[in-house]
C-alpha cells in the first residue's frame, strides 16, 4: 500500500478543521453553538486544534432551555474555566418572561421548539454573522440535504429547495446585511465516527454518556429521565435503572438507553451493535415525519 494514505478519521478531522478555519477567515463575528453534547464537544476540541497555539477566535453560545441535565452544565462550566473561552448563554426562560415565546403545557410539554426563537434572538443581539454547529448529515433525513455552509435569510430561515450548490472544497460565505450562515464542519461524520474520534483522541466526556443509575420513567416506548418539573401521566411510574445518554439535549426530550457501557471502547462496541439511530431516542424528532425539516426551516440548529 502507498505510504501516503490517510485514515478516515484523519481525513474527516482535516476536512472539519479546514471548514472551521474557513469560518474564521470568511466571517467577521462567528460563534460556536455549544449544547454540551458530544458533537459540540468534538467541535470545540477541533477548533482548539485548528488555531493552536492561539485561542479559539470565537465565543461559545449555549442556548439554555433551563431544563438541563446538571452534569451538562457542570461540564460546560469546567471547560470554560479550563480553556478561558468566552461563553454566551441565551436563556429560553428569559424569552418566556419577555413574552417572545409561550411555554407548552401538559405532560408532553417541551422547550425544544422554543429554542429557535431564543437562538435567533441571541444571534441578532450579538450580531453574529455565522454560527458553527455540530449537526451531521447522517442524523436525520432533512439534514442529509444540508450544506457545510448553510445560508439563512434575514428571518433566520432555511430554504432547502433553493440552496447554493457546494462544489469541491470551496465554500461560499457571501451574504447581504442581516443574513447569516450556519456552518456544519461535521457534516460527513457519522455517530460512529464521532465516538471513534473521541476514543482515538481520548477526549473527556460528560458522565451522562456512560452508564449510571438514574430515576427514569417510560413514555412512548422510551425511557426519559425524571426531574422535579416533569409531569407524569397515569400509568407512568418511576424506576431506577442503569442507563446512559446516546444524545444529550433538553432533559424533557432526551431518551435514555439501557446500557452497561463504562468506557469509550464499550460505547463504540455498543454503537456497532445497535440497530436504532440515535435520533430514534429523541422525542423532538418523533413528532412528525418532517419534524426536523419544519424546525430547520424556522431557524432551528
Amino acid at each position: 500500500m502507498n505510504q501516503y494514505t490517510i485514515k478516515h478519521l484523519q481525513e474527516l478531522e482535516a476536512e472539519a478543521i479546514y471548514v472551521i478555519r474557513e469560518v474564521a477567515a470568511q466571517f467577521e463575528r462567528p460563534s460556536l453553538l455549544f449544547s454540551g453534547g458530544k458533537d459540540s464537544i468534538v467541535m470545540f476540541y477541533l477548533a482548539r486544534k485548528a488555531f493552536y497555539p492561539a485561542k479559539v477566535p470565537f465565543p461559545l453560545v449555549h442556548i439554555d432551555t433551563g431544563h438541563n441535565f446538571e452534569e451538562t452544565i457542570e461540564y460546560r462550566d469546567r471547560l470554560v474555566a479550563e480553556t478561558g473561552v468566552k461563553l454566551i448563554v441565551g436563556s429560553v426562560q428569559e424569552s418566556i418572561e419577555k413574552g417572545r415565546v409561550v411555554e407548552e403545557t401538559g405532560p408532553e410539554a417541551s422547550r425544544n421548539m422554543l429554542q429557535t426563537v431564543t437562538l435567533l434572538d441571541t444571534i441578532a443581539e450579538h450580531k453574529f454573522d455565522c454560527a458553527l454547529g455540530g449537526g451531521r448529515r447522517d442524523e436525520e433525513k432533512a439534514r442529509a440535504k444540508e450544506r457545510f455552509f448553510s445560508h439563512r435569510d434575514v428571518f433566520g430561515q432555511w430554504d432547502p429547495k433553493n440552496q447554493r450548490p457546494e462544489l469541491w472544497n470551496i465554500f461560499n460565505g457571501r451574504k447581504n446585511l442581516g443574513e447569516h450562515f450556519r456552518v456544519f464542519p461535521l457534516s460527513n461524520w457519522t455517530e460512529m465516527d464521532v465516538w471513534q474520534y473521541i476514543l482515538l483522541e481520548q477526549i473527556e466526556m460528560p458522565s451522562l454518556y456512560f452508564t449510571h443509575r438514574r430515576k427514569v420513567f417510560k413514555r412512548n416506548g422510551q425511557y426519559l429521565a425524571w426531574a422535579p418539573f416533569m409531569q407524569l401521566k397515569e400509568n407512568e411510574k418511576i424506576e431506577e435503572l442503569d442507563v446512559r445518554c446516546r444524545t444529550i439535549g433538553d432533559i424533557t426530550c432526551t431518551g435514555l438507553t439501557l446500557s452497561k457501557a463504562t468506557t469509550l471502547e464499550e460505547i463504540v462496541q455498543e454503537i456497532a451493535a445497535t440497530r436504532v439511530t440515535e435520533r430514534g431516542s429523541r422525542a423532538d424528532d418523533r413528532r412528525s415525519e418532517s419534524a426536523m425539516e419544519d424546525r430547520k426551516r424556522e431557524g432551528y440548529f
Binding site: 474557513e22 447522517d138 435520533r279
Partner: protein, 429 residues
C-alpha cells in the same frame, strides 16, 4: 486463542479504515435507489427505526413495496412529488472502508447536481438497465464524470435477472460502451459488473447465477480499488487559509500559516517559494494542534512555520517542486448552475482556493453538448446546466494549475454579485 485487549481489537479495526467518496447517478427506473438501499441495508447502515419510518411513508404514498428512495429523499417536497431534488449524502462502512455516497438525481435538468456530487468523488457508479443498454443518460453521466476528472468509473449492468443472466447481453453492452463512449472520455479506469440490485446478485456477494463472471462483487470492488494514486503527490501546493498569531508571551513571535495541503509532500527543511511574491524560504516546522509532523500531504490540514519573516496572507500559496501557472487571462471549462444566464462582460466574484477576486467572461470559445461531447462554435449563450469553454479575465493573477493536474488548485466557483449565489463551476484548462 485470546485476543489482546487493545483499543483496536475492541473496536474491530474500525479506527483503521480508508475513506472512499463515490457518486451515483441514474433515474428511478435504473434501480439506483434499490442498489443504494441494498448496500446500506446489507452493511447495516439502515437502522430499524429508519426502516419503520420509510415503511410507514411508503404505505401512505400507496406503494406496496418499501420505497428505499425515501431514505435519501429527505425533504417533504421530494417525498410528496416522488422526485429527488438535491444531492443527498449517505454513509456506510465495512470493516475495510468508510464510504460517502453523493446520490444525485439523474434527470436531464439536474446536470448541476451531478456536477456538484461528482466534484468531491473518487469514483462514479453508473447504472445501465440490461434491457435497454447504453442510453443517452449513460453517455451524459460518463461525460460528466470525465469532465470532473473522476478516475474510476464502475458500470453496473443492472436487472440481469430480467434477461436470464445472459452473458451475451452483458458483453454486448460492455463492447458498445467501450467502442462508443470510452474513447471520448479520459477516465483511466473503467470496470463492468453484471448485477441485480433487487435480488442482490454481485452486489455484496458473488452471484451463483452468473458463473461466467469472474470479477469481484460491487462491494468487494469498492472496498479494494486503489485511490491514493488519484491525489497529486508530486507538485507541492499549500494555499494559505489563515494566519495563526497567538497574542501571548510564550508564543511571542509565532506565526503559523494554516491551510490544507492541495498537492505534493512537504517536510520541515524543504525549500519553498511563496506566491505571488516569488520569495524563497524554508519550512521550519509543520504542526497540527500541539503535535509536530515529519511530513504533510493531501488532504491534511496543518499549519507551517517558515524560517524567514515574509509578509504572507490568506490567498497566497506556498509552493514546492514544479511552479504553478500565474495568470490573469484564463481558459476554463465551466458548468453554469443558475437559471439566470451568464452575461458576457459582466462582473462576477470568483473564488479560487483561498483567494477571492472578481472576474468577467470575455469570450465563449465553444459550447459542449453533454450528450454527444460535440463542440458547438455557433451557439453563444450559456444558461442553466450548459457546459462550455470560456475565456476569463480576473482582477488579480490566479496561482493555479490545470484541473487535470490538480482538482483543488485547478477549480474555482463563480458567484453572482448582489444575490451572492454560486452560479458557475470552473475547471481550468
Amino acid at each position: 486463542m485470546e485476543q489482546p485487549n487493545t483499543t483496536e481489537s475492541l473496536t474491530g479495526g474500525y479506527l483503521d479504515m480508508e475513506l472512499l467518496r463515490f457518486t451515483t447517478a441514474g433515474s428511478v427506473d435504473d434501480g439506483k435507489s434499490t442498489l443504494i438501499g441494498r448496500l446500506l441495508y446489507d452493511s447495516k447502515a439502515i437502522f430499524e427505526d429508519q426502516l419503520e419510518s420509510i415503511e410507514r411513508a411508503s404505505a401512505r404514498l400507496g406503494s406496496e413495496e418499501v420505497n428505499l428512495a425515501l431514505l435519501t429523499d429527505g425533504l417533504r417536497a421530494e417525498r410528496e412529488q416522488g422526485i429527488t431534488i438535491d444531492v443527498a449524502y449517505r454513509y456506510f462502512a465495512t470493516p475495510k472502508r468508510k464510504f460517502i455516497i453523493a446520490d444525485t438525481p439523474g434527470h436531464i435538468q439536474y446536470t448541476r447536481n451531478m456536477v456538484t456530487g461528482a466534484s468531491t468523488a473518487n469514483l462514479a457508479l453508473i447504472l445501465i438497465d440490461a434491457r435497454n443498454g447504453v442510453l443517452e443518460q449513460t453517455r451524459r453521466h460518463s461525460f460528466i464524470a470525465s469532465l470532473l476528472q473522476i478516475r474510476h468509473i464502475v458500470i453496473c449492468v443492472n436487472k440481469m435477472d430480467l434477461v436470464d443472466y445472459d452473458q451475451k447481453i452483458f458483453e454486448q453492452i460492455k463492447s458498445d460502451y467501450l467502442q462508443n463512449v470510452a474513447p471520448k472520455i479520459d477516465n483511466s479506469d473503467i470496470r463492468f459488473i453484471p448485477i441485480s440490485a433487487k435480488l442482490g446478485d454481485n452486489v455484496v456477494e458473488k452471484s451463483q447465477n452468473m458463473p461466467w463472471y469472474s470479477g469481484p462483487s460491487l462491494l468487494q470492488l469498492l472496498e479494494t480499488i486503489e485511490i491514493t494514486g488519484d491525489r497529486n503527490l508530486s507538485e507541492g501546493r499549500f494555499p494559505v487559509q489563515y494566519v495563526i498569531r497567538p497574542i501571548s508571551d510564550k508564543f511571542h513571535d509565532y506565526r503559523g500559516y494554516a491551510g490544507r495541503i492541495a498537492g505534493g509532500v512537504f517536510r520541515p527543511g524543504d525549500t519553498v517559494t511563496i506566491y505571488p511574491a516569488g520569495l524563497q524560504t524554508r519550512i521550519k516546522s509543520i504542526e497540527l494542534g500541539s503535535k509536530q509532523l515529519d511530513e504533510a500531504f493531501p488532504p491534511m490540514s496543518v499549519s507551517m512555520q517558515l524560517e524567514d519573516d515574509i509578509d504572507i496572507s490568506r490567498g497566497n500559496m506556498i509552493v514546492k517542486d514544479t511552479m504553478p501557472v500565474v495568470e490573469q487571462d484564463l481558459t476554463a471549462k465551466i458548468c453554469w448552475l443558475s437559471t439566470r444566464p451568464l452575461v458576457l462582460g459582466q462582473r462576477y466574484f470568483l473564488k479560487h482556493t483561498t483567494h477571492d477576486v472578481r472576474c468577467i467572461v470575455t469570450n465563449i470559445n465553444y459550447m459542449l453538448d453533454i450528450n454527444t461531447l460535440e463542440k458547438n462554435y455557433e451557439k453563444k449563450q450559456i444558461g442553466l446546466n450548459d457546459i462550455a469553454e470560456v475565456q476569463l479575465k480576473t482582477t488579480e493573477p490566479l496561482i493555479r494549475d490545470s484541473y487535470s493536474h490538480n482538482r483543488i488548485t485547478g477549480s474555482a466557483i463563480i458567484i453572482e454579485e448582489g444575490t451572492n449565489n454560486t452560479v458557475g463551476a470552473c475547471m481550468f484548462v
